[in-house]
Subunit: 337 residues, 6 copies
């Protein structure tokens, strides 16, 4: 059975319950998440072993994070301890026309982002990994983390493993001239990537591909093949999201391999918790590829998993394959008893 | 004033608050319900005396159940004490495409389902009942309960009372070949029934009537008169439910008496808590019949009561007649002050 | 910078959390509000100084009210202490076809409504006020409060200040023959008013204007100019609300000045908490007028503020101008991070 | 079986959970209580039928009160509906040296206290009562309520029933010169009383007996016999409370009949919720008298019941006789399983 | 590193929060525990690998149990799935003189207690276990479980492992003539035991040793050596508990090996949550033995661990060795910052 | 009326409710505090104007902090906005032998601690301050904050104001060789100090005074006069704390002025929330000095205020003078009603 690992930060999510604001409330609900957490937990839910590679402080908060990851089913045996704190973010839910708000604390001072160059034994880690998941959010942190990320990807490749890279470009993290700053790092990682999660915006704005078309779909169909060819990537996948006037969202998934695009149906649904849906999509694509499912099935399941992630409390969607298949079969079902 | 009683089990409902799952949460909200509870409480809300005939354990949990029933307005003076425990079920709310989940504990070991044949003084009970409500869920339990149920129905009939029977067929309770197992028991009870709650699916699958038509409405119009004639039942009533793409539900009520079908308007509404809506419909039909309202009014009120039950937290809908009439008048009303 | 004050009662709001009823629950969430509270807090959110003139008891409940007002940003330095208690109301949320319910305790015994004639130093207060906000709810209380209200308005006018009056007619407060009882008091206040919040229903039913038309819009266009001319009011503003079949609400704001009506777009939105939306509209109109914004911008912002108030927990909407402008720009935005 | 009723007000208790204050918190837990509620509920717990005679408003708050009383086991069939509101009080828990605080709203405007003279059918009520419980708190309300109380006591007596009167003098309710105001009303009621709950302070300050002694016990032994003789009362009972330096409380119960004092052991215990302990003592004395237990057993049980009431959340202590006997046997017991 | 496993049932604990009762409340907090859970989790907290051997249903409740065990750090890889439900118990906290109450549901119908004889591969399990923990509660269940327990102990012994047995006699589980019923099973297990947790009561009542003495300590010193000799047990350990008048508890631990008794200091402390303290003692004894600590240190640490378990919410105490050592050093420490 | 200000950091306190740990729980209660917050809020409670000088981020978390300070009654008009985040700490309550735990996030990155040298207009601030409160915690932060602190103290002195300095030495903040590092900064500030809060430990370990004695009291009596003389300080005050075996604490306050020591009684009390008690003592000393109360009264009130702070939820004690006086009069009082 393939050994899957993700390299990334664990964030503490501090959410105002219900629909109040930080000014109005005096209570928070906390959980621990992050792109790597979400992906390894989702893959654990599909029956794989998913280990997280990260660094957490030796404090009661760090202990709570590890216990929470264990509860999610994440393999915590590759977690290093050190540093002083976790990155945190506060979440205030929106309602209708009132958008939700996310307030970050200083991520750059976290145990993960301040770990020294020699913190991880990259060679030993690479020998324990068949598939490595990396994320563009981690790439935005700082030079130290970027180097660790590239080093680990290179070691995994040279040990015969595969690399999954989710572009996940976040403008707020890269700042002014962000695309220009980000491009060389994205290019460096894409050279090592076997499966990329991206869409035409990433291709255009970060990498400069496919800019000639007006329509999103045309842009996608032009840009993705160019990216895949340029960086010799096996598979690309991603989603188009639309936000509808009635506050439902619609998602369409695509997968591209060997010159062929396959698309899921467009799924439309109400949204309970938006965060983590991209990771749910990525996880299901990885699962489908590992199981060698037909690609149409993979992209269908991935879109359904992303839809389900919108209906789930918390960043981390925990579903079995049968629950995803059932959502895919698209019956509006009554309560079962 | 007629004396109404229901014979049935009290279940403890253990619900994860909000939209989390049992894995995610560490809190439950509990209440006590059951078809008989819901019907007698609803009739109490309409101003009748509704007594529950059941058996509850002499434990703190049993005390809590009785106190809760009293709060609902149920007459608890016909409740027997004995046995060891209540049936329980866990409820996880769904959201959008994610269905809710119900997990039962062992109902068959409950005080109600293990009560011995001689537990109830059937003759004495029958002498205190004008209208007896029975439910197909109880019929699915075990041979002992079925016998008690039939015995009580027969005693009530012979003492001059009326029997209401809600078919409420639950596939999970009857298991494989469920319809075949259930049929003789349903037939036996329908022989004693004055008012039946059912729809064409019950008629077809349990009793084998009305199978020649394709359309639900045609099936209903064929099957119900056949059932009513065959078992010499005074009145039949029931609902058609549709689950819409936007996750609203639609309900249409029917009532059939002396060869005539009357239908309510189709009511469409968002759903807060699905459980107990059928009992709200049944209760309002019983209320309308007891008050000798025109049948069109009865079926209209029953559909409105079922709609309101979907907007109410918990299994047990508590409304006054004026609240139901107001919902029926179908204004979308602003908050009142 | 203009000094703004509102004269009005502080109510304690006791809300059943979630969607249960007072019968079902055993918990309440409390806050403190009132038309004057909502307006001065909203204006504080827009950067003004907003002081509340009221009377609160010297009890732990009165202390809690003052602390809450301070948290909202209301200037509490003009609050008098005395009397025995606050007005209170219980709020049970509705869902879909089930309307919410509001139950008041005895407002007339509150510190505000029992304050004696000489409680406030009207001349000193007037010297500290450039803009005074008054509300028709206060006018409905009793003769003593009405006299205080009129006296304060007159003093403010004679000291060179402006008076804003929100008609806010509440049938339940005036009782039988309410319109006839209310008319002389409304007329007296409108004589002192510079900016009135009202719509055609107020004009028709309270004042007897514009009764010849069938259509609401035609009624508005007939009645408002008549009222403005009759009472020599500078500006009138108000909203039309529609409640849609899918339980969303729609609002259209208007402003009328110097013979010209300007209307906002009709905004349609889901409703989280209905109470306080009218005060949010009024506050934004006052803010726009104080800032001398173009009236089209003022009415647009006011409608958007009212819409946002529907998405906010509690009576009192707390928004910055930039949040209102953003809601006005009407993108359905995803969560920001 | 004797029919027991209490005449008194139902109050809504609004408690800040935990140890915060109204300024700090935003949540309340509510319940419904009152001396009559506590006594009838406690007697229901001992297996008697206990009915409350009161008036409650026809509002959602009144409905919630009735449902709550039903849950407590109180017979609600003698409750009248009318008026506008309930009396309420806010409760902030203390801790150690910080005392708890109680803030009342206007009790005098409650449905009970504003009920008109003809509200109750006193003759019909008296015909349904064997034992009537009255309380000095009710006597402090207003002339109307006092008259109803005396009238009902007189009717019960003339119909052959017994009257229990708990002196329960509350200085805050009687105001300045309270003892002088209260004396004639207390005297009038004591003339009708069969069983009085009081101690030497009541005898001294309200009635002017037993003032010659320095020591509490000596005062008690002098004053109680004088009171009993003067008013021809069958039985007197009451408690001495001490508050210890470690914040535990100590209680000693007494009972006096036919010239003999009997005392319980002094019980010392930590306090969870102080309110309602006197009613628990009174209830157990009534129960003991009704069961014709030996008076030593009655006073022992009453002291133990009062102790248990201090360990119980809420005003209303709900215990079975066997739970009281067990507390009396005074083992410090480990958890049972 | 030694591989430790426990064989036992997972119970769902459903606790009324705070100090209310099931009648008063509508909320529960749930967790999952059991003697084997507590011991393996505590050993995980000390840095060992602790696996639980049990059977859990494939339901959302079973999933929640497994996730909870993972969070505790328990190795869940030896858990079998099957059956229908978990054993459950309801817990109402006591206060002072009011004892807590525990209400069990039907444990005998649980997945663990209904697992068939061939459910576990005993030989394979034994090959993965160096130390096996068993508990007298499991022995009380039914013949099937007893046989599995004995079979597993025998296999572990024959594979060279050690057996720890905690007598944990629960009268309620064995019923009438419980000691006589239990004796042969206890004897059979003690024949296989290397480390026994027991005290003089177990020795006397179950096994019939040491009955000649009056004083508990003398009884202990007589009985334990006899038991150890008779069954050729390496080590015996246990505690004496006293419940003090001020509701604090006192514990004294003992350990007996090679003819020598060693005792801890008597520790006196307030109690937050009583359940699971015995398992905390047993876990620390196992840890001390595995680490080959001096026995005086082991018994000291075990007593301190048991004390800490009384201060911890939930059945399962989670401490590091350094936290136990610190509690042992017995400073009353201020908050650290 | 004197204008009081404190210069210091606002921390966000994130507390696990009840007695669980961060591993066990998923909820936090948050508030905002800090030495300067506590002191200005307490002085506001005594009727003074207390302004906080600090820097807070322009984020929803910063808004929540300001709203919370307003609720406490703190004057927020001297607060600067800038930087990115607040310092935070997590608090897990202990119980009995289990100590509470505090986990800090990175304070040094907070808005306050990263504010640039020119952030505050020191001259303008000094012109608005009669009494300035400073704290040793702030002195431990970094060179920038220390310079701001010293600069502000110097400006206040040269503008004729008074400086209060609370030594508040925290070993964890100064690290290895902390006393040596801290001494020159403490000396520099003491040169500017009019009223110092300290005890003999501060004098010995930070400043090197009074080291010749064995007994705490003798050390105090030797060291404090030396410090006061050396730095020409008007008044010194402080407390001795003892932690008793039954987990109660005892406090004795002292005040020293013009060669005379005055002591409060030793107060012994149970502890609900330890944090903030020192600030409550300091605030009451400042209040007493401002009111020119006799010093014996001042130290008595300060000790009582510190005791009350231990009984109060949260860091910030909010009492009126009459509540403090009442606690001082030391009756163990029953609930008042």
């Amino acid at each position: 059975m393939p050994r899957i690992a993700a390299f990334g930060e664990v964030m503490m999510r501090l959410q105002v319950p219900g629909h109040g604001t930080l000014v109005q409330s005096n209570r928070l609900e906390y959980s621990f998440s992050g792109s790597g957490v979400n992906v390894t937990a989702a893959l654990a839910g599909y029956g794989h072993n998913g280990a997280l590679i990260t660094t957490l402080p030796e404090t009661p908060v760090g202990e709570a994070a590890i216990a929470y990851l264990r509860k999610l089913g994440v393999d915590t045996s590759l977690i290093y301890r050190g540093g002083k704190q976790l990155g945190m973010y506060f979440l205030e839910n929106g309602f209708g026309a009132r958008p939700g708000r996310v307030t970050y604390t200083d991520r750059l001072g976290s145990s993960f982002n301040t770990a020294e160059a020699g913190n991880y034994d990259m060679v030993a880690l690479a020998s324990r990994i068949d598939v490595l998941h990396l994320c563009g959010i981690t790439l935005a942190m700082n030079e130290g983390v970027r180097n660790q990320m590239k080093r680990l990807a290179a070691e995994v490749k040279s040990a015969g493993g595969k690399v999954v890279f989710d572009c996940n470009y976040r403008p707020a993290l890269w700042g002014a001239d962000g695309y220009a700053k980000a491009r060389p790092h994205y290019e460096e990682l894409l050279e090592l990537t076997d499966l990329v999660l991206m869409n035409e915006k990433d291709a255009q704005f970060i990498l400069g591909f496919g800019t000639g078309e007006y329509d999103r779909m045309a842009q996608l169909k032009q840009a993705i093949p160019e990216v895949v060819e340029r960086f010799e990537i096996g598979t690309a996948a991603g989603t188009h999201r639309e936000i509808n006037a009635d506050h439902t969202h619609s998602l369409t998934g695509y997968i591209y391999q060997q010159g062929t695009f396959l698309f899921s149906r467009k799924l439309t649904f109400p949204v309970y918790d938006r965060i983590g849906a991209g990771d749910a999509f990525a996880s299901a694509v990885i699962h489908g590829e590992l199981q060698q499912y037909p690609q149409q099935q993979t992209v269908n399941m991935a879109a359904a998993a992303a839809m389900l992630a919108h209906t789930t409390q918390g960043d981390t969607a925990l579903f079995t394959e049968s629950e995803v298949l059932r959502a895919l079969s698209d019956h509006t079902v009554d309560v079962e008893r």
